[in-house]
């Protein structure tokens, strides 16, 4: 098993900088997701790890050994591509055995390994078939099998399920997660699907414009985003412009007044407020809002409400006291992240009600709870 280190990786394509000063450590046996919108440099990073792109600067180390100068065939990595993985002129068996035959393994051993790995990915009977006789999901499973059969130190997955339909995608990623746990292989998984990343990753690197914005576990990425981009990109987030009012000792966003987290902030400073939908609470004493739409999302409701001076906000509420469309309601902020100069300060605290309890039963003050004022992660 292996540990991967990326040290100061840089990659440019002409005038476009794809990856900028990327430093990252993937621990032994960890599943690391590279997550970001298209063009953020995540695939380029993965291709540099696999040896398909050469970094302009920086170093790639596996278990402390630099592999930057090695071609793909001499790296202990195995890659599964988004599509076009399998060689159409070979059977599934031929595809999987290709790397083993190159290594001149004895025939009996090759047969046994192919059989084992096909069983591992749940396709014991397809060895004699050609790739075009398999479904898209089966093809990707065979590709995973072909990668695993060489017992690489590092498994690289480049959006391997993004061409599959939604149900199959969910199923496949669960399978891959299980498989990865079972064999304990260090894995780097590239995806643009945050749900996919949040559900399978041990840790996630959120990338934006070639830069790693934040490296964290899924839960702390959701609870404590360190940049406005991460806050907006992970999960649903209401982002609204706000301004510091020193006289009131408050941060003002539309009708809302939040306690000023730091009295040293100059008056009139523009900041951004990021509020999770579950931290917007329906409360008659809160700011007036007009319900535009109510969407049933299964076990909870998403309410789209217009707040004067802020615009549309999204909030989650349970189904016990559904507001009607067109109704006027009061909304207050239980917890928000105030981003000043790109850094967050937490204000208030999450009071996510236990399932089933009505949100109206909590405290009736319009003002949110006292600020904790802690600078997250001590920055």
């Amino acid at each position: 098993m292996a540990r991967l280190e990326l040290v100061g990786l840089n990659k440019r394509f002409g005038a476009h900088t794809a990856v900028r000063d990327l430093t990252l450590e993937v621990r032994d046996g960890e599943l690391m997701c590279l997550l970001g919108p298209s063009g953020c440099g995540k695939t380029t990073t993965l291709r540099m790890i696999g040896g398909f792109e050469t970094p302009d600067a920086g170093d790639i180390r596996i278990d402390g050994r630099s592999v930057t100068a090695l071609p793909p065939e001499r790296r202990p990595t195995a890659m599964v591509f988004q599509r076009y993985n399998l060689w159409p002129h070979m059977t599934v068996e031929g595809n999987i055995a290709f790397g083993l035959r190159l290594r001149r393994r004895p025939r009996a051993q090759i047969d046994a390994k192919v059989r084992d790995v096909l069983a591992l990915v749940g396709l014991p009977d397809v060895g004699g078939k050609y790739p075009h006789q398999l479904s898209g999901g089966q093809q990707q499973r065979v590709a995973v099998a072909r990668a695993l059969v060489l017992e690489p130190q590092l498994l690289l997955l480049d959006e391997p399920f993004s061409n599959l339909d939604a149900r199959l995608r969910v199923h496949m990623r669960e399978e891959v997660k299980q498989l990865q746990r079972e064999i304990g292989i260090t894995t780097v998984f590239v995806t643009h699907d945050q749900e996919e990343a949040l559900t399978i990753a041990d840790r996630i690197t959120v990338m934006h414009d070639g830069v790693a914005e934040q490296v964290d576990t899924p839960s702390s990425l959701y609870a404590n985003p360190r940049t406005l981009f991460v806050a907006d990109f992970i999960g649903t987030m209401n982002v609204m412009p706000a301004r510091v009012h020193r006289a009131d000792g408050a941060v003002a966003a539309g009708p809302w007044r939040l306690p000023l987290p730091d009295p040293s902030w100059p008056d009139g400073t523009e900041v951004s407020l990021a509020v999770r939908p579950e931290d917007l609470i329906i409360d008659p004493a809160g700011a007036a809002a007009h319900v535009r739409r109510v969407m049933n999302l299964g076990h909870y409701l998403q309410v789209l409400a217009d707040v004067p001076g802020v615009g549309a906000v999204r909030l989650f509420t349970d189904k016990d006291t559904p507001p009607g469309e067109g109704q006027e309601i009061g909304v207050r902020i239980a917890r928000a992240l105030v981003f000043k100069d790109g850094r967050p300060v937490e204000v208030g605290r999450t009071e996510r009600p236990a399932a089933g309890s009505a949100p109206a039963t909590i405290q009736s003050t319009a003002a949110p709870a006292a600020p904790r004022g802690t600078d997250l992660d001590g920055r």
């Binding site: 793909p72 890659m79 993985n85 790739p131 990668a147 061409n163």
Partner: protein
Amino acid sequence: MTGVLWPWAAAVFRRAVGAAALLALASFILGPLLTLLVWAFAGTWLFPNLLPEFSLRWWAFVLGNADVGKAIRMSLLSAPTATLISAVICIPAAYAFARLEFPARRALLLSFLSANAFPKIGLYVSIATLLYRLDLMDTFTGVVLIQLVNTLLFMIWIPTGTFRGINRNLEEAARDAGAGPLRTFFQITLPIALPGIMVAGLFAFIAAFDEAQGTLIVGTPNHMTMPVLMYNLVLSYPQPVGAVFSILLSLPSLVLLLFAQRYLRAGYLAAGYSL
């Protein structure tokens, strides 16, 4: 009554027009071939008779002719040689055109058209003067060289398109599995590109096999291929001789075409180009 009859008549008319068009097309394509066949097996064909009397006389004459045997041998040697040489030259070049970025890539690719952009006869005459200096006139090498002028275009353009159609992931996956660049080319890229290369080879073979102008200039008098001999036969012998020889001339390409059609239909090939 007419209101009921009319649509029926219109349908008949439409079908009649369709059938007539088909017949016209068929006779346009098959007519000359049919005439050729009739002539090839004609003995004597005198005026009022619709069909000639059947005879294999001209076949015996043609196949018994020493020049014909020599020309057939010459054609069946030179055309495959030209095809093979152009494959050896062009397939690596086509791969480079498809995969690598280098200066003047487009201009070079277009330059292969240039041989077809000018009247060939002028080109052949100037090549002939060059070959004369090099002492290659009336040699097998000279004939193959002149045939290469026609095969290069096919052997570059079709495989370039084929290679470009092969997803890079397929090659990268092979590198990933431990194969070096050469092994990747020979075990992955080339087999997947084979159908396209076969088509290119077929076109190249036909182009080389069919070449008459240049071979006439470079190969006479001792290195005559079948199409060159055709001039001779048509000018000096009765019509059935030309017909017999035409059939002989079209046999190799016909056989190759049938073979290629059969080969290209193999099921797994389509999957290489789209998932």
